[in-house]
């Protein structure tokens, strides 16, 4: 019994550490009204307060988002673009990303946030 629980313990310890290394290190904004994310439909875009933008764990410049997103949307039209943006980011960057998404016709977006408890 102790062995099994110990294995499970190690499993959760490892997965907890893994999650933090996805995308860019950011602190998400807080919001109360967030709705559940449908993980399998999401395409994540990360932006931090140093104006770095990352898609699929690769840094991209803002002007190229259009091309990258268009390519992904050719395979799956129902994707929702998830904005993982640091709360201290200048809105200008968000606005430029949204302009790129309009070019790529990616109209469904969601702003990822964390609930009140963290």
């Amino acid at each position: 019994m102790a062995d099994i629980i110990f294995l499970l313990l190690i499993f959760f310890m490892v997965t907890t550490i893994f999650k933090m290394e996805e995308g860019l290190p950011i602190s998400l904004p807080r919001a109360e009204t967030g709705s559940e994310l449908e993980r399998e439909k999401l395409m994540n875009i990360w932006a931090d307060r140093f104006n770095r933008v990352s898609i699929n764990d690769k840094l991209v410049s803002v002007e190229l988002i259009d091309a990258v997103v268009s390519k992904r949307f050719e395979e799956n039209r129902g994707l929702i673009v998830a904005f993982n943006v640091d709360r201290r980011t200048k809105y200008d960057l968000v606005s430029r990303i949204m302009d790129q998404l309009k070019e790529a016709n990616a109209v469904n977006v969601t702003f990822v946030s964390v609930g009140e408890k963290e």
Binding site: M1, A2, I5, F6, L8, L9, F12, M13, T15, T16, K19, L28, P29, R30, A31, E32, T33, G34, S35, E36, L37, I80, A82, V85, D86, R87, R88, T89, K90, Y91, D92, V94, S95, M98, L101, K102, E103, N105, A106, V107, N108, V109, T110, F111, V112, S113, V114, G115, K117, E118
Partner: protein, 135 residues
Amino acid sequence: MIKKRSKISAEFNTASMSDINFLLLIFFLVSTMFAVEKGLPMALPGQQSKSVKLKRDNVLTIQAFANGSIVIRGTGPVGVQDLRQIIENKLIANPKLVVVIETHPDAEYSVMIDILDELRLANAERISLRTMKSS
């Protein structure tokens, strides 16, 4: 010959080991799920979408400035905490109201999210995002 047996056992009691592990397990389980990420969904206008002309009375513009202050155009500065009540009242007065969030390029992203969150709390459904022309 008399065998001398030591009566002190060299083992320690491992019965409580699983309890400790179980507690740790529960701790990590719970802490993994704490950071619940949720999304504020929004539909952006696409390439083909035509611009719709709206009556001036049906549009309410909320401006977010670079210093974090929030201003309702035509009314004046408001605090984030009062926004929900104001929007609720305006929506009762005019259910066709379209709320435009106009954010300054130098404003922080979290200000826009705060406003968006308040609008969703007030059940505003027609929301539009706009970037302020920096002058």
